[in-house]
């Protein structure tokens, strides 16, 4: 009579990652060669990725503030730990603290350069570690305006690119580029991203739905530099133009090189996360 067909009564559903937003920081160089807009877009994205490499590990607390059309607010709190591995592999552990009914739920993701993510979900109510598929990328993360694919690592290989030119955003000289998701399951036809020319940090992204209509705008602010190298934002706001809802992500207590090892990112650690 164990007929509950799936005990994961859990926010993230059986979906994807909440890898790191840290890799939202695409960044362009100032490429000088004569290249096609596609090559130039890719070069900028790759340079942004490369500049952020070498952080080792990172831990951070995250507060999500969900707002509906009537400005009613809801809070979600989580913690994210990340570990850089060999060959661009990234391991991430997300621990959910609120809402209280999902407290203790934890999601472990191994993301690779050249193969699909591997994911395990720990469901505390039944003490079960469940391997899950990476499907459902376009679905909302914890009921927010961020989709799972927005939360996941923004790897260079996940998109193809096109350089659109230079543009000034609120007085900051930026590169503007388009990126097209490689994943057929993506909820977007394309994204337009603005990166500041000096540090190659993403300041703004417009998301276009499958019909080509503007769906959401992400605004990233409060960048701070850590270890004299890695730029991290304090605030990310996603506004959904079609629904009128919005979500703010606030990053807190960001720490680097805390001494985490692969053992902090295995299935045993998933069970011990609290």
């Amino acid at each position: 009579m164990k007929n509950n067909c799936s005990p994961q009564k859990v926010e993230p559903g059986t979906m994807t990652v909440a890898l790191l937003l840290l890799t939202v920081l695409l960044v362009p160089l100032t490429p000088t060669d004569a290249e096609t807009p596609q090559e130039k877009g890719l070069a900028i994205a790759q340079e942004a990725w490369n500049r952020d490499r070498g952080y080792g590990d990172q831990v951070a607390e995250l507060v999500m503030i969900l707002r509906n059309r009537n400005n009613d607010e809801m809070r979600r709190e989580l913690r994210i730990k990340t570990l850089e591995g060999e060959n661009d592999a990234i391991r991430a552990l997300v621990i959910f603290d609120t809402p209280m009914d999902v407290r203790g739920t934890a999601l472990l993701t191994y993301s690779y350069k050249d193969k699909p993510d591997e994911q395990w979900l720990f469901i505390p109510s039944v003490n079960r570690v469940k391997r899950i598929t990476g499907s459902g990328q376009s679905g909302p993360f914890m009921g927010s305006e961020f989709a799972f694919e927005d939360m996941g690592s923004q790897r260079v290989e996940k998109f193809t690119y096109k350089y659109l030119g230079e543009e000034t955003l609120d007085g900051t000289p930026c590169h503007k580029l388009e990126r097209y998701p490689e994943n057929k399951e993506s909820g977007y036809s394309k994204q337009e991203a603005w990166l500041d020319q000096e540090h190659l940090r993403v300041l703004k992204v417009d998301y276009y739905d499958k019909k080509g209509e503007l769906l959401k705008t992400l605004t990233i602010s409060g960048y701070q530099q850590y270890l004299e190298r890695h730029w991290r934002p304090a605030r990310m706001e996603m506004v959904n133009h079609q629904s009128g809802k919005s979500t703010v992500l606030e990053w807190k207590n960001i720490q680097f090189k805390t001494g985490l090892t692969e053992r902090d990112f295995d299935q045993n650690a998933l069970k011990n996360a609290r």
């Binding site: 009579m1 164990k2 007929n3 509950n4 067909c5 799936s6 005990p7 009564k9 859990v10 926010e11 559903g13 059986t14 979906m15 969900l66 509906n68 809801m74 809070r75 609120t98 809402p99 209280m100 009914d101 999902v102 407290r103 699909p116 591997e118 039944v126 003490n127 079960r128 570690v129 469940k130 391997r131 899950i132 598929t133 990476g134 499907s135 459902g136 990328q137 376009s138 679905g139 909302p140 009921g143 927010s144 399951e185 909820g187 090892t261 053992r263 295995d266 299935q267 045993n268 650690a269 011990n272 609290r274």
Partner: protein
């Protein structure tokens, strides 16, 4: 060799006393360390549309309250943790459902190559959804919920060796936990009441030390585990007891699908003072868990080979899970499940399910209230019997959650072990407050 039928419950009483003593001691711990308490309280209402099988059982409606708390303290430098989770339910309609249990009370220490846990724990093994065949460490709290998903805390020492080639887990489990079952006045019970006299094959009864080991690892898309358990079975057989005489476990008298509908059982049931006595065999069980996770499709398999109950048998569950994402251009995801349940004993199984098909679905709304709707059917193609389960969950407020559940037993044949719950269709609503 004949097994002696001693029936002391002293040893079990002893375990209970020890557990209570530990609990009392542990209540002092929070005073010593700063830790964190959290928990929940639930109010449950039940409606049974049908009159019971036996007029002694509760009528059409009941309610109950339950609560669980968790205290956790972590020593990050030494990677150690202390966890304490007491649980309790009060049910004014069923004295067996009113109970206290220590779900968890353990100290844990982790290092690069091992993890050690001492105390009362909850351990889950398995991959499938409809049945948890391999899962054997913890006893089911069946009085609490017949789904079997709620488990009693199991005292143990558990060592995990973390190797590049997989995890090796060893378990030493002193102190057996008896299965909780609905009381005489509760629903979901056997046709004749169960006695409080429990019988064991082990000479030292519930003090028998059970042993288990498990290897688990993953290779790309594959997650695998192999386990071995040696000790007292978690699932009791039921021996008929008439006029103070208990039938021996060696006979063919234990309650199973093969005899539930025969003349002798009817006669037994008609005799005044007839009871069923739980009998726990010593068993060996080998379990295999396999899961292949594709980009969307998931294939799962669980199989066991069990000896000592008393005959040797095999059982397996296998099936698929598949997601339909963003259905109807919405943000909802639909997960579908299809599984097949097989038991080599067929009708002679003490298990409620053998050669059955499970079909299920789970609809996740992905909204801010985390609304989900689940449906599951276990179908016996031979008899046409169907067990239906529908469940809807929704967060009403940040600290309040509502679950509504419907369970139905239809077309259950008279010779199915499910026959005595066929009047126990249930509509349940549970409101949980988190603090």
């Amino acid at each position: 060799m004949t097994r002696t039928l001693s029936r002391t419950h002293d040893s079990h009483l002893f375990i209970r006393r020890v557990l209570l003593l530990i609990a009392a001691w542990v209540c002092l711990i929070p005073a010593a360390f700063a830790g964190e308490w959290q928990g929940n309280l639930s109010l449950e209402g039940n409606v049974f549309p049908s009159s019971p099988y036996d007029p002694d059982q509760l009528g059409h409606a009941s309610w109950s309250v339950s609560g669980e708390a968790e205290y956790a303290h972590e020593w990050p430098e030494s990677k150690a943790q202390l966890v304490f989770t007491p649980y309790g339910r009060w049910d004014p309609y069923d004295e067996e459902r009113t109970h206290l249990d220590i779900r968890k009370l353990y100290w844990m220490k982790a290092s690069e190559r091992y993890e050690l846990r001492l105390g009362i724990q909850q351990v889950f093994w398995g991959v499938t959804e409809s049945m948890h065949l391999v899962d054997i460490i913890n006893q089911m709290d069946m009085a609490d919920d017949i789904s079997g998903d709620r488990k009693l805390g199991q005292p143990m020492a558990n060592l995990t060796l973390v190797n590049p080639w997989g995890n090796l887990d060893f378990y030493v489990m002193p102190g057996f936990r008896r299965r909780t079952l609905s009381g005489e006045h509760g629903r979901f019970r056997t046709p004749v009441p169960v006695t409080h006299e429990h019988y064991y094959e082990a000479d030292n009864e519930s003090m028998h030390v059970d042993l288990a080991a498990r290897y688990s690892h993953y290779f790309g898309s594959w997650d695998i585990a192999i386990s071995q358990f040696s000790g007292t079975s978690r699932s009791p057989r039921f021996l008929p007891q008439v006029l103070g005489y208990t039938f021996p476990p060696e006979g063919t008298f234990s309650l199973s699908g093969a005899n539930i509908n025969n003349f002798w059982f009817d006669l037994f049931r008609a005799l005044p003072g007839s009871k069923l006595a739980p009998y726990y065999d010593l068993i060996n069980q080998t379990g295999v868990e396999l899961q292949w996770t594709g980009e969307k499709l998931v294939w799962k398999f669980e199989g066991i080979w069990r000896s000592g109950e008393p005959r040797t048998y095999a059982a397996a569950v296998t099936g698929f899970e598949y997601p339909f994402n963003s259905i109807f251009k919405s943000t909802k995801d639909l997960y579908v499940f299809l599984e097949y349940i097989w038991d080599s004993r067929g009708r002679e199984s003490y298990s409620l399910f053998q050669n059955d098909i499970f079909v299920g679905g789970r609809l996740a709304f992905n909204d801010t209230q985390s609304t989900t709707v689940q449906a599951g059917w276990i179908i016996d193609p031979e008899s046409g019997g169907i067990v239906t389960s529908l469940q809807a969950d929704r967060r009403l407020r940040e600290d309040l959650k509502l679950a509504v559940e419907l369970r139905m037993f239809s077309g259950i044949s008279a010779d199915s072990l499910l026959t005595f719950v066929r009047k126990d269709d249930l509509v349940r609503a549970e409101l949980t407050w988190y603090f």
